[in-house]
Assembly symmetry: C2
Homo-oligomer: 309 residues x 2
Amino acid sequence: MSILVVGSVALDHVETPFGSAEEVLGGSAVFFGAAASLLTPAQIVGVIGSDYPMEKLRFLEQQGVDLSGIETAEGESFRWKGRYSYDLNERDTIWTQLGVFAHFRPRIPDAFRDARTVFLGNIDPRLQLDVLEQVRSPELIACDTMNFWIDGSREALLELLERVHILLVNDAEARQLADDPNLLRAARWIQARGPRWVVVKKGEHGAILFGPDSVFFVPGYPLEQVFDPTGAGDSFAGGFVGYLDWTGGRTDDDFRRAMVYGSALGSFAVEAFSVDRLIGLEPNEVQDRIRQFREMTVFELEVGAARDG
Amino acid sequence: MSILVVGSVALDHVETPFGSAEEVLGGSAVFFGAAASLLTPAQIVGVIGSDYPMEKLRFLEQQGVDLSGIETAEGESFRWKGRYSYDLNERDTIWTQLGVFAHFRPRIPDAFRDARTVFLGNIDPRLQLDVLEQVRSPELIACDTMNFWIDGSREALLELLERVHILLVNDAEARQLADDPNLLRAARWIQARGPRWVVVKKGEHGAILFGPDSVFFVPGYPLEQVFDPTGAGDSFAGGFVGYLDWTGGRTDDDFRRAMVYGSALGSFAVEAFSVDRLIGLEPNEVQDRIRQFREMTVFELEVGAARDG
């Protein structure tokens, strides 16, 4: 088992009310890989500029990530600067420098083409489709997208959806994609276009799994201190897809547990800048948090019925 | 067992993208009473103007609500007009006519003073305190409030909190009351001022129970069609407090189930205008929805641990 992830490898600049960080590891493939590799081997395909501090990524190798699919191109790396207000729910992008990422054309190394699981990070849907042309016969394909592609590359995105088993989006993206403010109807609309499973991420409000036969909710983990929300969604995806690759399970129960792993790893990610909290996270820390999610959501049906009129 | 609820009895005017309603039953005590009385006898104390169509309230009597605490005052009834946009998350108040509600001074009939449970709907905290002076020894006191009182009657509100077992507020109100954007810290702050249990309602995102020893989440019920969100919070409160009065249970498990009853009754309330959906709701409909909440949140911990590094 192994997961191939294709996405951005970036250098983030982040300002929060609690501090700031510059030139720290970021990008969808990095957050996803850092989270997923706590559960299963991961292979990253991405591009960096000649200025990228590759040595900073090495910790991922010790965690079981194969970095050999990260190519170095002449030019500057993808950089992004964001700022969070005090309530951490609003993020302002201060600037984005695409650098070499603007011309990213994923090339999947031969050794990666047999990956059991593929995660297509948030890039142009035409490139996501191109990745699917290069892999052999993945058992599970999951993808992310964003408002920019929903608006501007709708046709390619819909073509992609036909080939994808799992779509992970946030609630605004789901509504936009289906052009329906009702989340349940929006998810059903998306499912009718391909993905059997639609995961709607709602930040601090948790996430919803729309499956073929059921709906499942997982709350956001309540933290006394959210330090840096950057990468929460990709870490969620890493935990979610990573769990499915790790176990190979494909039942409704497996997908439910995958949701909890996603939410757990997303919650760790926001406890520190960049991927700092994911580095070297211990299996028992993950298991503890999974148990806490159960504790936060479990209730017993009692015997008896509502009062008669 | 019985619940005394003190709050507004109003006539609502509502516009939604799906239709509009005029002069329909509304107000916190009405929504609360309609929901709670599906589980346990309820007694309403409120005020109406001489123009109120009292016959419309009679259905509540058939459901086990004692209306004898609703006094009629000379003047116009409390009326409110609200409009919801297409996504139903935003509500604009078009106008409010307080009428006789502006001079409401709750007088608790002697027959109601032994109520086991008291719910103080969203009114001036000084009036809420005054109600507590009139009741004998309620086992459980729950209250609601809003931004207007948090801002303008903070001292009285804090005095009230010392005497209350359960505070039900929405997330913005919890943050405002504690002056802390972090919901977990805000809830702990409130708990330190009196209420052992703080229920934070988050609309479509569900609700969170902060107890003395645990945190419990219940999601919003996913509906294909939310018809009219008015009264969802008071119906939630009616289901929540109603369950606790009905069963008399006071354990963490009981409070968890109460949360699910609250969420279930809130979800019914929004399926139609006013209290229409709560009228004559069958016990098995409630039970079915409770079971669906369990289905939407249950997951099993598997054997095994996260992958070793």
